[in-house]
């Protein structure tokens, strides 16, 4: 911990020794590299944001030694990823300890949805065709977007590569072949075609297979003198395929639209927790997924003042779970779930003055869950979201406010349906630039949000409770952002610092009601979270040809349970929530060569809500290194990347008894047309 702080301070010290210069946006002109221009514009958006927002561009993601979406997101401050290990392990995202249910994940502007569990497994998404990742803490400043996007406490946006063509070419694309330790084999193909002046199309396909049989050290006790044994992770294999296709049209100068098709088919083994003396315990559990969606977007600007957009989506998720070793009468447990969701949205934007704009949007969502269980309720939830929002922009001040109204209509084919809910969610945020000469901004936001009980919470046999209330969340945040372009060598340095206070009320927990077999979902939890997020990014031109991009983040979280003073865990830190965590990355670029180093670090945490030494989990560091070389050929650009991950080789655990792979390697060859 001390070493980490020392190195961060040293880095900050080095980068601050430079004479101040008047705010200059001319940095991009002198360098002339397109990536830097984009980075700068986006970091500008991060700097002005009234609520913290972190953007990772495709190139920045390329410096993070990341294979899956979860690998990249781990670098963002205030983010806790619950990672169950290996490529196939479940990975869910919780922002600022509010819980995974309060974070929405969207794909190209429209929310991904799982009404059954309320969580999105972000391990499912590869970064192969991702152009940008944005994490909004609180809410996005852009008010012209579908009502549903205003609902969640935080939002992770995945934006895929839009078709772009260089010069006269009508075709572009990328072919990638990746291989690595434990049988990783991952080819992918991306093709963009210009069908006409106005219409272009993309086609993308990816296949990934991994044995996932990494060796790990099983420790039978926490101290160094306790016995250990060398084991191999079994039943951790993954095989998945993704097919995507999209059409993009620019009908006129004022209207455009796109249509996207997405199909994902995966099979994986669920290795389960590493049980002492019985590592074969979950040797047979398998999970199959077949997910499909079709989404469309239309936008039309009637005038300089009026804009309208429409979105629609049809989603079908199929989940098949098998446990062939269950000792019940049938000798197995087999579950089949199918979720359907239909979504429609209409949004309008009105800008009467250059500084002032208004937006209104209305969404309708219909979700149904089918299961192969006897007498299953087969519930349907109709959700209506309506929002009005306003925004004031000036050189120094940016203020946004919104009010979201949500109404649900629950129904079920068998038995009683859940209770209908009505909720109002207000939001207010502002950022202010006090000094003219310096790019310093102060910001604050307040958000009240909620999350509806999932279908599992409401309808799970014997445990579900129909009358469950939604969980409420409240967020208060103050912070500052500072951007400087001080010198010829230190091109850019940006700092964001935020302090926040969050509350969760009516938290839905499973509660035993009298004995081990009678549990019930109850709105009983209360959590109070205080925290701080710090991030620092810098861009340095060391010599004429060498660029150094560095950055780091640090998070402090004090997330304590405040449910019942009589309970033994009252006032204790929530499980799996480290008080201190952070990340760092550094990338050295020389011509077409790039060397990148990344670090993910976490302090100690507890595996139980009762913070006792018996449940203490030691902190961990995960260092990775990569070397990337590009070659310009006649046909296109060829890139070769070699990565070495988790250099220290320790099988650290994020979730107790789910070890991470030790040292592993990856080799990627990609060709850009």
């Amino acid at each position: 911990m001390r070493q980490f702080i020392q190195s961060v301070c040293l880095l900050a010290l080095i980068t601050s020794i430079a004479p101040p210069e008047a705010a200059a946006q001319s940095v991009s002109d002198t360098i002339g590299l397109p990536e830097v221009v984009i980075t700068e514009q986006l970091s500008d958006r991060e700097m002005r944001a009234t609520a913290p927002r972190h953007i990772l561009t495709g190139d920045e993601i390329g410096q993070l030694n990341a294979l899956q979406l979860s690998d990249a997101v781990k670098h963002l401050p205030g983010v806790t990823i619950r990672d169950y290990g290996g490529i196939g392990g479940l990975k869910t995202i919780s922002v600022r300890s509010l819980g995974a249910h309060h974070t929405a994940v969207s794909y190209n502007g429209i929310a991904l949805s799982d009404q059954q569990t309320g969580q999105i497994d972000i391990g499912r998404f590869s970064l192969d065709n991702v152009e940008q990742l944005t994490l909004h803490y609180g809410q996005d400043d852009r008010i012209f977007r579908p009502a549903r996007t205003f609902a969640a406490a935080s939002a992770l946006e995945i934006t895929t590569v839009a078709p772009h063509f260089t010069g006269e070419s009508r075709i572009s694309g990328k072919a990638t072949m990746r291989g690595g330790s434990f049988g990783l084999f991952n080819p992918s193909l991306l093709l963009n075609g210009m069908l006409s002046e106005k219409v272009s199309a993309t086609l993308s396909g990816e296949w990934m297979r991994s044995r996932g049989d990494y060796p790990y050290l099983l420790r039978y006790g926490p101290s160094g003198s306790d016995s250990t044994s060398s084991e191999r992770r079994i039943n951790g294999d993954v095989e998945n395929m993704r097919l995507e296709s999209s059409l993009h049209a620019r009908f006129t100068a004022h209207s455009r639209g796109d249509l996207r098709l997405y199909y994902y088919n995966a099979e994986r083994g669920l290795p389960g927790a590493t049980i002492y003396y019985n590592t074969l315990q979950d040797a047979g559990q398998r999970l199959w997924e077949k997910n499909f969606f079709l989404q469309g977007h239309l936008a039309h600007a009637f005038s300089r003042r009026w804009e309208l957009q429409a979105d629609g989506k049809y989603q079908r998720n199929h989940l098949h779970y098998l446990d062939p070793t269950y000792l019940g009468a049938e000798g197995k447990v087999e579950d089949l779930f199918t979720q359907y969701e239909r979504y429609g949205s209409l949004s309008a934007h009105y800008r009467p003055f250059p500084n002032l704009s208004f937006a209104a949007s209305s969404d309708l969502i219909s979700a149904t869950l089918h299961a192969n269980r006897q007498g299953f309720a087969t519930p349907t939830r109709l959700t209506s979201h309506s929002v009005i929002a306003t925004k004031w922009v000036s050189e120094r001040l940016l203020v946004t406010a919104s009010l979201l109204r949500t109404q649900t209509f629950e129904s079920a084919e068998h038995g009683v349906a859940g209770t209908n809910r009505l909720r109002l969610s207000p939001y207010l945020s502002a950022s202010y630039k006090p000094l003219h000469a310096h790019d310093l901004r102060l910001r604050a936001f307040y958000k009240k949000s909620f999350r509806l009980p999932t279908f599992n919470d409401l309808y799970y046999p014997q445990v579900g409770v129909r009358s469950l209330l939604p969980e409420d969340a409240e967020q208060f945040n103050i912070g500052l952002t500072l951007g400087r372009s001080p010198a010829t060598h230190l091109k850019q340095i940006t700092l964001t610092a935020d302090l926040y206070h969050n509350r969760v009320d009516n938290k839905i927990v499973a509660f035993p009601t009298g004995n081990l077999h009678q549990w019930s979902m109850v709105n009983v939890g209360k959590v109070i979270i205080n925290g701080a997020d710090l991030s620092l990014e810098s861009l340095m031109q060391l010599t004429g040809k060498i660029m150094l991009q560095t950055g780091g983040s640090y998070s402090w979280q004090d997330a304590t349970d405040r449910t019942d003073p009589r309970q033994v865990n009252y006032g204790h830190q929530l499980p799996y929530t480290p008080p201190h965590s952070g990340s760092a990355h550094a990338s050295l670029g020389f011509h077409q060569l790039q060397l990148a180093y990344t670090l993910i670090w976490s302090g100690t945490r507890y595996s139980n809500g009762y913070n006792d030494t018996a449940y203490r989990m030691e902190g961990y560091t995960d260092h990775s290194l990569s070397l990337q070389q590009s070659f310009s050929t006649r046909l296109g650009q060829l890139t070769l990347i070699g990565e070495a991950l988790n250099l220290a080789g320790r099988n650290y655990e994020i979730v107790r008894n789910y070890p991470m792979p030790g040292r592993s390697y990856r080799l990627t060859l990609s060709f850009h047309l």
């Binding site: 003396y277 019985n278 315990q281 000792l327 009468a329 004995n515």
Partner: protein, 360 residues
């Protein structure tokens, strides 16, 4: 203690052990020298599923010192995942670790594991051992692969097995018979099981099954040979009940007046039954097995409230009653009550799901 003294005591101890093994057909839990006063408690904590946090804690009464990770400290390795039952028999303690599929044979005085018996079926699958009983130099284990396994206490090896009903739980031995409650717990979707298996002790074969009611759990016998059992029901239209099969009979009778009975223990012909009615704090009902009537609706006489009682054990020497409390997620407490129902002391956060207590 100097070396000579140590050696001398070891010799005596060894001699006692040999003498005890030669004369080992004492019924029940007689040890090689019953102490006059309990000095140590060994507390089994079941732990949570998939967490490898089952523990054995040791509490020294005289010094008021608790070692929460006693098994780990002595053996340099964790106990495993979900330890469902513990039994003191002779000089050894037997622990059934359900999800790890092991049976630990622990030396009672030192906590050292003498043998870790793997409870696995041919093919290496975990048998899932549940509960224990002992008689005549053998220890009997019920497992969720629908068997009762016999272990020899000298060779510490498995020497017999018999198939019973679905998912056997509680086990009791009396008058050359083994009684096993077939809960059918893993078969809850299809209506559980509802039988009590009667096994001949000598031949280790199942003689018959008696229909007792849905989802039977704990079985115990009194000195007369009457068989008492709890039937947990299906948490829906079939309620739980406390029942009895009188010695010589093959039919079960309900004992009314006890709501949602959970685990229970019989000591000195009195049954202490955890009554876990929905929505109210658990209580301990006391039933007199000889007079055949309920003598108290709540054993605890000083108003101590324990919302969820995980298990109840009685110290045969002092008559003290131990109740383990839990919320199934965080570590629970162990309460000690005297024979009049007044709390003597309470050990907080002993372990997750504290359960059986063994006395030394």
């Amino acid at each position: 203690m100097n070396v000579n003294r140590q050696f001398y005591y070891l010799l005596i101890f060894g001699a006692l052990l040999l003498w005890n093994c030669a004369n080992n057909d004492n019924p029940g839990e007689e040890g090689g020298g019953t102490p006059d006063e309990t000095t140590t408690l060994l507390i089994l904590n079941e732990g949570s599923m998939g967490m490898n946090n089952a523990t054995l804690a040791r509490y020294n009464l005289q010094e008021d010192l608790i070692t929460k990770e006693y098994f780990l400290d002595v053996n340099k390795r964790g106990l495993g995942d979900v330890a469902n039952d513990m039994l003191l028999y002779g000089s050894k303690i037997y622990i059934a670790v359900n999800k790890s599929g092991t049976l630990e044979v622990v030396e009672a005085t030192t906590g050292k594991s003498l043998r870790q018996i793997r409870m696995e079926s041919t093919g290496g699958q975990n048998k899932e051992p549940r509960r224990l009983a002992a008689h005549g130099g053998k220890v009997y284990v019920t497992s969720f692969d629908d068997t009762v396994t016999r272990i020899d206490t000298v060779s510490l090896a498995i020497d017999g097995s018999v198939n019973v009903g679905m998912d056997p739980e509680g086990i009791a031995i009396k008058n050359n018979r083994i009684y096993v409650a077939n809960s059918g717990g893993l078969n809850w979707a299809n209506g559980y099981d509802n039988t009590l298996s009667v096994i001949n002790l000598t031949s280790l074969t199942e003689e018959k099954k008696i229909e007792v009611g849905t989802n039977p759990g704990t079985v115990q016998t009194d000195s007369q040979g009457d068989i008492y059992l709890t039937v947990t029901g299906n948490y829906g239209d079939e309620p739980g009940a406390f029942k009895v099969i009188h010695s010589g009979s093959s039919t079960v009778e309900i004992i009314t007046g006890i709501a949602s009975p959970q685990k229970f223990v019989i000591n000195d012909n009195k049954a202490y039954i955890i009554s876990g009615a929905y929505g109210v704090s658990n209580s301990l009902v006391v039933y007199d097995c000889l007079e055949e009537k309920i003598i108290s609706d709540s054993f605890i006489s000083d108003g101590t409230e324990i919302p969820i009682m995980n298990n109840v054990t009685v110290d045969p020497v002092s008559g003290d009653l131990f109740v383990a409390s839990t919320d199934y997620v965080h570590p629970g407490d162990l309460y000690c009550f005297d024979k009049n129902g007044k709390m003597k002391y309470r050990l907080t956060a002993v372990g997750i799901n504290p359960s059986v207590v063994v006395f030394q």
